[in-house]
Amino acid sequence: MGINVKTLCKDEFFYGHKACAGCGGSLAVRIALKVLGERSFAVLPAGCMSAVGFNFPQLCFGNNAVISTFAGTASMLTGIEAGLRAQGIRDFQAVGFAGDGGTADIGLQALSGAIDRNDDILYICYDNEAYMNTGIQKSSLTPFGARTTTTPAGKNIRGNLRPKKNMFEIVAAHGIPYAATASIGDLNDFMEKVEKASRIKGTKYIHVIAPCPTGWGIAPDETVEVAKEALDCGLWYLAEYEEGSGMTLNYRPGTFASVEHYLKRQGRFRHLTGDDIDIINHSRDVKWKLIEKNLGVIK
């Protein structure tokens, strides 16, 4: 039987931190560590999860955990994995939790290097779509149209002008043993993917969408619901890449739910016009054409 909420470990490994109410990122870290267990060596770069979890003397990880440099999540994981293996220690999981900026911007070079070496590590990107720890600045995973403190929505420019970087596809293009997208809106799927990744040797990458009430302008109790809605309206997708068998789509909504409804319930998108929403709908359709062309059978 696969892992699910009923079989999930009861122990807590990320507990007593000071994340914002309704934080999606802390949920992703907490659940992943429950799947991976006490012999996890967690690396967290500068970012929300390290800022809320590592304040001496209040240290919130029950497993081994360390903050890395901002750019150095993957390279520190490499050193930890190699250092343990060199000492004959085998039964462990080196796992990184980095945000969207820490992954797709400043940490991309080190991540690419680790995948290239096929280091036996699991890298989890919790994507809340901006530099939230520093107070909501645009990253390369901020979606088109989003208002951030560095992409203000005014008369001349209405928020962020660039689409999200295609991190899953970029990672998969390395020929990585395993990569997946996930969402905290589908925790069973996320848990299964973390569990599956932990059994694969070599580099693994999971990109989990984790809404941020503070940065997205939603209520703390809407985090999971908004994450689900992103899947239903087609602005995020659940997929896997496995070396040898290529990409697989895990979920295809029968008909897409309203993009406008998803956008307009979030403060960061409230300024968008009908034309802006048309652009987002169109880019969603273009993306899904590519997804359906490139990705295999729905499981």
């Binding site: 955990a65 490499t78 080190a110």
Partner: protein, 390 residues
Amino acid sequence: MARKFLSGNEAFAEGIRLAGPRVISAYPITPQTIVVERLSEMVEEGSLSAEFIHVESEHSALSCAIGASAVGARAFTATSSQGLLYMAECLTYASGGRFPIVMMNANRSTALPWNIYGDQRDSISLLDSGWIQCYVENAQEALDLALMSYYIAEKKEVSTPFMVNLDGFVLTHTYEVTDVPEKEQADAFLPGYETENKLDPDHPRNLGFSVGPEHNIAFKYKEHLGILHAKEAVREAEERFAQIFGRQYTGLVEAYRTEDASFVLITLGSIAGLVRETVDRLRERGEKVGLLRIRYPRPFPNKEIAEVLGNVRAAAVLEKDISFGNEGTVFSNVNSALHKAGIPVPVSGYIGGLGGRNISSEEIEGIFADLKSEKRKTMFLGLGGEGEWV
């Protein structure tokens, strides 16, 4: 023991083989590259059992070494110049985390203008990063420091990373006859690395955490005490080294013919060899001159410098670095040592050898000649600039 004809880089690689790091993160940069090439060959042939990691940058090289050290594995990396600057963020990370990594730096000029030749601005500009820094003079000392550096860095009360500096090309690429000890001797000298400051599968820990304004300064004070403890560890390492290998070293500084000297030239690195020759030649002419080689600018040998310069008439610092807008950094440090000791010796500051420019024996003689005026002077060797600095 075998006698081999080795370059500085090769000698250092032999020393690292003998020290036996468990993880090596490797990235090429001239003039360091030969070190990681030799180490990769040693791993291939089986004379060194280490995880050899081909990192994609110097930042990752040191970040990877920090990860390995954070789980209690002896770690090594090497770099130079731009690479050292690129990994600068990780330098303070390693020292603040008290991870006793050893890194070899091939001293090289920093851009702009681009230049691959030797000066010491790269490492001297990072004196404040919390690393022990040693500057060696020849291939034998390089090999020996590869062993001693781990012994010193890993002492529990030290727990501080260690940068061994070799002058680019002049030392890294110059071949000398070098004694290469047997592995059994090296093992007798250097115990395995044991620490509690690590992530441990059986005793989980949180490391690399944040410390707020209330407690932060206490961590920094402890870090400072750690690198100061290296002074005693250097002495202990050299005693132990002499017992096992029969080679003597002289601690944080090496004083040459200074006992009765009136004029002393202070420098560091490979140029000390030429200064020593020049001192011998001037001594033959009856001139009372001497050399003070700073082997370790961190921890800084305040006491040792004051002892040597206590009775001289004048001294000069010759260094391959400059703190732009002020003066040579070693010059500043030496003046501070003398001021604290209440020694009013006039000290002159000479900047030389930047970008690999040759320093001649005649120029060194010229410095000694200048000292006879017993006036303070600061200048760029061969260029002048005198009097414009104050």
